[in-house]
């Protein structure tokens, strides 16, 4: 290896970042395709089937189309914030994935002296980092809504910020219950704590200890990612397209990308916290990430399935549900978990 190259561990780490980033972009593309396909089958249609095998390349065709579209900006818009908003959205969506572990460690078939963990960075407060970055993502939506200087965008932005603030509380409380069980804020440790089985066949996943917490987390996760049945920021009948009404071309595509990457991230967090992350039977250690992908895929499929099955709530129902039902249940769940931990020890 030439001397001017950085040490192999650094190179491997940069490579890891590149792989994770591209996997996220590809999974977003895949999600767009899956969403359209599943939606089509649910509605008894065929869905995209012209570009590539069964339309797999449709998202790429869409992106190329979007790239060549004209970038429009309303005359009265706040130019700077209008341009920054989609960047904040997309950056926050990608950044949150940095702390999620998706496998054990690898030496790349002996290429490296030290094995590197399959995770961009292992922070000891990883769960809180995800929480913090997710809350930054709100700004993209709020700023887009405000800076467009259009009433539909503004209403969409306001709704989404109110919604995200309301559901973030339940989301955080569901996380806290798992943190208490694991006794750690590091995602890698939380996953490793779920190793093993009860009576030889039930995996020790936290979903079995925290079934209510899992439900709360998934519900709040849907609201956080602005997905149906909680997709008020973009309720078409009322708000045209919500906060991204005035966006076109690639800045629109960035919001789109952020939405799908956020879904992947929420599913990955749910997998790590409740479903044992990369842990699973049959596969050798170096293939453990396959389990991670399978679990994330199943949750994503569930999201898509839900979107095309359930109608949208009304906005006041959503707020009422968040504050009057979900939050009290989350608080009770947290208290009960704490009491049980104290009692059992």
């Amino acid at each position: 290896m030439p001397a001017w190259l950085p040490p192999p561990a650094v190179l491997a780490h940069l490579g890891l970042i590149l792989v994770v980033f591209n996997m996220l972009v590809l999974s977003a593309a895949f999600m767009v395709w899956m969403e359209r396909k599943v939606c089509a089958y649910i509605q008894d249609r065929n869905g995209p089937n012209r570009v590539g095998f069964e339309g797999v390349l449709q998202p790429f065709a869409d992106v190329i189309k979007l790239l060549f579209k004209e970038e429009l900006r309303p005359k009265a818009a706040d130019a700077l914030l209008f341009a920054i908003a989609p960047v904040i959205s997309a950056a926050a969506a990608f950044a949150a994935f940095a702390v999620i572990p998706f496998g054990t460690s690898t030496t790349l078939w002996g290429l490296l002296d030290q094995p590197i963990p399959l995770q961009v960075t292992d922070v000891n407060v990883a769960v809180l980092v995800i929480f913090a970055i997710t809350s930054m993502g709100i700004y993209g939506i709020v700023l887009a809504g405000w800076s467009s200087n259009s009433k539909y965008s503004l209403l969409g932005g306001l709704r989404s910020s109110a919604q995200m603030i309301s559901y973030e509380l339940s989301y955080g409380l569901a996380l806290a219950a798992v943190i208490m069980l694991a006794g750690s804020l590091s995602l890698r440790e939380i996953v490793l704590n779920q190793a093993g089985t009860w009576w030889g066949f039930i995996p020790r996943w936290y979903v079995f200890l925290q079934p209510i917490g899992f439900l709360i987390f998934m519900t709040a996760g849907v609201a956080e990612t602005n997905r149906a049945p909680f997709d008020f920021p973009e309720a078409e009948q009322e708000l045209v397209a919500g906060y991204h009404t005035e966006y076109s071309s690639m800045s629109f595509a960035m919001f789109f990308l952020a939405e799908y990457v956020n879904m992947v991230t929420v599913s990955a967090v749910a997998t790590s916290l409740f479903l044992g992350g990369w842990l699973g039977p049959f596969l050798p250690d170096w293939l453990a990430w396959v389990w991670f992908l399978v679990k994330v895929f199943l949750i994503l499929f569930f999201y898509v399935w839900m979107r095309w099955t359930l109608p949208r709530y009304r906005y006041d129902q959503l707020m009422e549900f968040g504050w009057k039902y979900l939050l009290p249940v989350a608080v009770l769940n947290l208290l009960a978990t704490a009491a049980l931990i104290l009692w059992i020890g």
């Binding site: 706040d78 700077l80 914030l81 922070v123 000891n124 407060v125 809180l128 980092v129 929480f131 913090a132 970055i133 809350s135 930054m136 709100i138 700004y139 709020v142 700023l143 809504g145 405000w146 800076s147 503004l154 932005g157 306001l158 910020s161 109110a162 603030i165 804020l185």
Partner: protein, 171 residues
């Protein structure tokens, strides 16, 4: 490396904070304040306090500033009126005069404080590295600082009740 990062974060924090005051558009002020909070979080990371950094982002940048943004958006304050040209800052309206006095006081306090501790490098405390542990922070919050902790929660409760009372007055 750490020193370069420190100066970058410190510069961002100071410049953003100064610009917060100078903006005509309240929305830009809010965004700059968030930037400043982000840079502060970076400084906490450099101080080996990731937990403090993350709470800084979650509470200040994430929760409180969203509320700020909300209020600014709902009130839809378009732009501040440019202040009438003052003859002299000291002879301006009462508000400005009080501001001048307060900032002079603050400046005097900073000079006094710096003269007390000196401008050298702070000694490295070996125990400081363990402060980043969440368990330690929790333990000291509920033992040594229990009174301050409980007092804060009462203050927050008062604020909440105040908000509810204000909101109900219209009915």
């Amino acid at each position: 490396m750490d020193v370069i990062a420190f100066y970058i974060f410190a510069a961002i924090a100071v410049v953003a904070s100064v610009l917060v005051v100078g903006q005509k558009n309240p929305m830009h002020s809010v965004m700059l304040l968030i930037t400043s909070f982000g840079a502060l979080a970076g400084l906490y990371v450099l101080l080996d306090a990731p937990f403090t950094a993350v709470t800084q982002i979650i509470i200040y940048a994430g929760a409180i500033m969203v509320l700020f943004l909300f209020v600014v958006m709902l009130l839809n304050v378009p732009r501040e009126e440019p202040a009438p040209p003052a003859v002299s800052a000291l002879l301006g309206p009462t508000g400005i005069r009080i501001g001048v006095i307060l900032s002079l006081l603050l400046g005097a306090e900073i000079v006094w404080a710096l003269s007390r501790i000196g401008l050298g490098w702070f000694p490295q405390d070996p125990a400081a590295a363990s402060v980043s542990s969440v368990a330690l922070i929790g333990a000291s919050l509920f033992t040594r600082h229990a009174f301050a902790f409980e007092a804060t929660s009462v203050l927050i409760l008062v604020a909440m009740i105040g908000a509810v009372v204000l909101a109900r007055r219209e009915h």
